[in-house]
């Protein structure tokens, strides 16, 4: 498995994708910190990047890399390598590459800012960790989707719909449900509903940390009310960790039954 992870990382470096992605984050990181002026405003901008863009890039990379390396996967499957290791190795390789680009690309501007003003070191670290987690989760989910269908277009479609659901539609539906049933006690429903969306979980975690109530939304407020800021954060992070393990089982399960 480690050899496959290593190969994927090398392959992505060679394709310069990792580098391109890293430069993109460097550019975005520095421009936000330099030009937005207000610290909390730049925090919100970073939040949007971590919550929306990282999962999207993870999704696109997961699908693209899988279909591009279909031939190589077949070659690997004919070798004395466990099926699970072939697919999970690919997932981890892509996730680690993307994650490293993110952490280095945004980490450098963060360090630069921190060296000047000595603020918010822990918030930066949390942002990077959440970005890493979301990237890995969505790369994994999109790979699981790709493994389940040979049709590239369909694979792309399903993976994007999944991202759209989690990143955009989910909140809308949750809000609608909350309005429709506002006469009932909905705290627990909202709490449970959040667990099923890693993007929501990440949002709540960072907002609890930042303590920006205005942005917290209903579910965030419920989290704080029920668990308090620290316990709420720990809970949401634990559930996120579980989300990170999910693709492992999903990919293993789907790949086990597929023919190549």
């Amino acid at each position: 498995m480690f050899k496959i992870i290593g190969y994927v990382i090398k392959d992505l470096l060679r394709n310069r994708w990792t580098l391109f992605y890293l430069l993109f984050y460097l550019l975005v990181g520095f421009s936000i910190l330099m030009f937005s002026g207000d610290f909390s405003k730049s925090m919100v901008s970073f939040l949007q990047i971590i919550l929306i863009l990282t999962p999207l890039i993870g999704t696109l990379f997961g699908v693209m890399y899988y279909y591009n390396s279909r031939d190589f996967i077949e070659l690997l499957l004919a070798q004395p390598i466990r099926r699970r290791d072939v697919f999970v190795g690919q997932w981890l390789g892509v996730s680690l590459s993307l994650g490293t680009s993110l952490i280095v690309g945004l980490g450098i501007p963060f360090l630069w800012y921190f060296a000047q003003y000595e603020v918010a070191g822990d918030q930066f670290i949390l942002l990077l960790l959440l970005g890493f987690a979301l990237g890995a989760i969505f790369t994994g989910l999109s790979m699981a989707v790709s493994v389940s269908t040979d049709n590239k277009i369909r694979g792309f479609g399903y993976a994007l719909v999944l991202w759209l659901l989690m990143a955009v539609v989910y909140d809308g539906f949750l809000l609608l449900a909350l309005i429709a049933f506002r006469d009932y006690p909905l705290e627990k429903f909202a709490l449970v509903a959040t667990v099923f969306n890693p993007i929501d979980l990440a949002r709540i975690t960072i907002l609890l940390k930042l303590d920006i109530s205005a942005l917290m939304g209903y579910t965030g407020a419920v989290f704080r009310e029920f668990l308090g800021s620290t316990a709420g954060m720990l809970t949401s992070m634990t559930i996120l960790l579980l989300w990170m393990i999910l693709p492992f089982f999903l990919i293993t399960f789907i790949a086990r039954k597929r023919d190549f």
Binding site: L75, A78, P80, I81, D259
Partner: protein, 240 residues
């Protein structure tokens, strides 16, 4: 060495393998023949664990291969279409596969024989079909394993390389290796195969030696024999 026991496989509506039972004997060259879409590649892939049979079993050296992977240390497979990461050079590829298999490989001699040394440092996507096939052959024979499976090994090869391949196959057989191969070139099969398995629409239509197939069909060469088996089958169908 390899036993397929009542293997069935269906892709959607299409039944690709129907109760296929075959014994592949150790130390000889067995050809799997059949028209396009008769299930040859699917059959090979069930042995490799790439296609999972709906029912039946595949036995390698006395043990079922289903759900296992370590047995593949003893099998090398050369696919019909060269499946390589396109941005690797030939040399990098020849070094990568042994690492992934955790097995030693000797390719210096093979690289010379097939003239691959002339493009060792070219990337795979810069090679022609024939050149890739030669790399494919080097990959197939560079490991010291008991079973080698070749899917259409002559595809795209020039006559010199085909000759070299024939020599190599004889040498490998002398070393005691078992070889399974598919081919559409009947001359090649007639010269090389010790045994023939003929698949037709996913069913084993004939199994035996070249001389047996000739006697049974009353023909003088393999091409005619195979054609006659196909026509026989069509007539039977028309009759039914």
């Amino acid at each position: 060495m390899v036993k397929f026991i009542e293997v069935n496989k269906r892709f959607g509506r299409l039944q690709v393998l129907k109760d296929v039972s075959i014994d592949v004997e150790e130390g000889i060259k067995t050809a799997i023949l059949g028209p396009n879409g008769s299930g040859k590649t699917t059959l090979i892939k069930t042995l490799l664990g790439m296609v999972i049979p709906d029912s039946g079993d595949v036995i390698f050296k006395g043990e079922s291969v289903l759900g296992k992977y370590k047995y593949r240390r003893e099998i090398v497979y050369m696919p019909q279409i060269a499946l390589f990461p396109q941005n690797l050079t030939v040399k990098e590829l020849l070094e990568l596969i042994p690492k992934l298999r955790k097995q030693e490989a000797k390719y210096d001699d093979l690289v010379d024989r097939f003239g691959v040394n002339e493009f060792m440092h070219k990337k795979m996507n810069a090679l022609s079909g024939g050149m890739r096939q030669k790399v494919n052959l080097v990959l197939a024979f560079m490991f010291d394993v008991p079973l080698v499976i070749l899917d259409e090994p002559t595809n795209g090869l020039d006559p010199v390389a085909v000759l070299e391949l024939k020599k190599l196959l004889y040498e490998e057989e002398k070393k005691g290796r078992t070889i399974m191969f598919t081919s559409h070139i009947m001359d090649f099969v007639q010269q090389m195969a010790d045994r023939i398995v003929f698949l037709l629409e996913g069913v084993v239509n004939f199994e035996g030696t070249v001389s047996e197939i000739l006697t049974e069909t009353g023909t003088s060469n393999l091409e005619e024999a195979v054609a006659s088996l196909i026509i026989q089958n069509q007539n039977q169908k028309a009759y039914v």
